[in-house]
């Protein structure tokens, strides 16, 4: 009986298992192999040992792209998750018609990324854009955004604030799971709004915050489409933006692999990315060890 159920379980799970082998495990191994070769798709791969990895260490664009991606992860993730949490707190208030506001905040997340990115290219237009118009109305400085190297990455982060809907919904669900009795007890003890947020809300939703941080971090490390479209000048030509300030890691990997057809070199880059993602996740888990509160323990 036990044997039969293992057989049955595997049979039902077989679509994923086969897909995993064909589209993930074998490619990962192949990718490791290609990373030790020179391969341009038309000739057979040539084994070159660690050459690709050595070349990476002296490739300025590699370091630039790594810097850009780390910049976006370190600044972008906390900023956009904070915005999502603030929105979730507001959308958790008990008022009539709340469904309308939740729909509105989620709506931009539904807009196809290509359309959303062009919309922001227009909004961030240095001369005719509405963002600078709003800044002018508030008597603030008006950067040239996508044309000014120090401002391109903040522009990307600003754009990401518009599409925080998914994180917002997850936070909202977590907030609704916090038992109301805790707040009632705190109110009786005379706790203010901030104290309740700091000592009840944050600890109780901290596992969700950690999960969202890891997911958003991994997502940002893979960033590609938005940077590609914001720095695009012609068809199949994403420039990387002024002074390569938008050349994120995924974009440089794409250029090496699919534009220059340096498949071996791009595979080496992919493996470095895998290790960065792994190291980042472990670091985050370690840093959070004493700060995340699991109700079950």
């Amino acid at each position: 009986m036990a044997h039969r159920s293992v057989y049955r379980g595997l049979l039902f799970a077989s679509p994923w298992i086969v897909g995993f082998l064909v589209f993930q495990l074998v490619p990962i191994i192949a990718s490791a192999y290609y990373s030790f070769t020179n391969f341009n798709l038309f000739q057979d791969p040539q084994f070159v040992g660690l050459h690709n990895y050595q070349r990476l260490t002296s490739d300025d664009l590699f370091w630039k792209s790594l810097f850009n991606t780390v910049y976006l992860t370190v600044f972008g993730v906390p900023i956009s998750l904070t915005a999502a949490l603030i929105a979730a707190l507001a959308l958790n208030m008990r008022v009539r018609g709340q469904w309308f506001f939740r729909t509105v905040v989620f709506l931009p997340t539904v807009v196809p990324v290509v359309a959303a990115t062009y919309i922001w290219r227009w909004l961030l237009n240095g001369q005719y854009g509405f963002v600078n118009e709003a800044l002018a109305a508030a008597h603030l400085g008006q950067p040239l955004w996508l044309d000014d190297p120090p401002w391109t990455k903040p522009a990307l982060i600003l754009m990401s604030l518009w599409v925080t809907g998914s994180a917002m919904i997850v936070f909202l669900a977590a907030l609704q799971d916090v038992p109301g009795i805790y707040y009632e007890a705190a109110t009786i003890d005379g706790a203010g709004l901030w104290a309740k947020f700091r000592h009840i809300t944050i600890p109780l939703i901290s596992p969700v915050i950690l999960f969202e941080t890891i997911i958003a971090g991994i997502f940002t490390l893979q960033y590609f489409t938005q940077a590609y479209l914001l720095s695009q000048t012609r068809f199949n030509a994403a420039s990387g933006g002024p002074e390569n300030s938008l050349l994120v890691y995924g974009l440089y990997l794409f250029q090496q692999g699919f534009v220059n057809l340096n498949m071996g070199y791009a595979s080496a880059m992919a493996w470095v990315l895998l290790f960065v993602a792994l190291a980042g996740t472990l670091l985050l888990l370690r840093l959070s060890r004493n700060r995340v509160f699991y109700a079950g323990e």
């Binding site: 379980g9 994923w16 895998l274």
Partner: protein
């Protein structure tokens, strides 16, 4: 939580002094007003870009580049939509995108649900290990597999077709499997056990008991899969070369490449491309939002 306000007012605080209650109706009314003020402020921020897009798409070129920029217009026009239709075979792209999205939904509905059934409803040794493996693959950057998979499709001569986009959809997706597994676990075991006693096969239980009960989760999955396929940019960019096969994403991208500063037509095209998804979202939003909350999915 519902009773918290009333409780706070009625129960004495520990030191025996009644909690300070401001003018009851006035205080409550102004608190409510403050809440709505915050909510409408947030809504305005999120809606404003939509207003700009629609307004830009309905303006003549002469007004688009006006200083200072403004939302209103003296000469509303549909010319930009006409220009967008003239510049690209919109209906062709719409059909291509719809085709890819539909096949993706069908493939994911069947493959992800049967794997989720194995993980949630069949008791077998090794299933917990498999679940951990599936969740772990969510962390894998797609760039690692992208290049070898492309090389393989290229070697068997199938780049330039939809197959590299469609075939993987029939092998399940880690996010969807996890989402459905969470939902399936809520379906009472007694229901399945009594069917098993009656001699029903697992396949039959999966098909005639679990799937009908899981309709809300399946709807959420379908909306997700549809939207992801509809919006995808990287895979069509890599695999599709023939303009006749372009999806809306690639079509919009090539339109921008050729007519970069034609903002009016570009915003019209962006509106046309987004509208179907917004409609799908508005119809299915309840299931959709619940689906996200289920897994913490992105």
């Amino acid at each position: 939580m519902r009773a918290s306000d009333a409780v706070a007012v009625e129960i004495r605080s520990p030191n025996g002094i009644l909690p300070k209650v401001e003018h009851p109706t006035l205080g409550r009314a102004s608190a409510l007003a403050a809440r709505y003020l915050v909510l409408f402020g947030i809504a305005a921020l999120y809606l404003f870009p939509f207003a700009v897009v629609v307004s830009t798409s309905l303006k003549p070129a002469t007004e688009i580049f006006s200083l200072p920029p403004r939302l209103g217009s003296d000469h509303w026009t549909f010319d930009n939509y006409k220009a967008a239709f003239d510049a690209m075979p919109f209906w062709r792209y719409l059909f291509n995108t719809g085709f890819i999205s539909t096949v993706t939904v069908i493939g994911q509905l069947f493959s992800s649900s049967i794997v989720a059934y194995s993980l949630a409803k069949i008791r077998w040794r090794g299933r917990d290990a498999l679940l951990i493996l599936i969740v772990a693959t969510m962390m894998l950057p797609p760039q690692v597999t992208m290049i070898p998979v492309y090389i393989a499709w290229n070697r068997i001569g199938l780049t330039g077709t939809y197959l590299p986009l469609l075939v993987p959809q029939f092998f399940g997706n880690a996010f969807f499997i996890f989402m459905l597994r969470q939902f399936f676990r809520g379906i009472p075991e007694e229901l399945l056990d009594s069917a098993r006693l009656d001699g029903a096969s697992e396949l039959r239980i999966y098909w005639s008991i679990v799937l009908p009960l899981a309709r809300p989760a399946l709807v959420a999955l379908a909306i997700f899969a549809f939207m992801w396929a509809w919006t995808d940019f990287l895979l069509p960019l890599i695999y599709i070369n023939d303009p006749q096969q372009y999806t809306l994403s690639i079509g919009l991208y090539s339109f921008f490449s050729e007519h970069g500063v034609a903002w009016g037509a570009l915003m019209a095209a962006a509106t046309l491309m987004s509208a179907p998804l917004i409609v799908v979202f508005l119809f299915g939003q309840r299931q959709f939002l619940q689906g996200i909350a289920f897994t913490g999915i992105k």
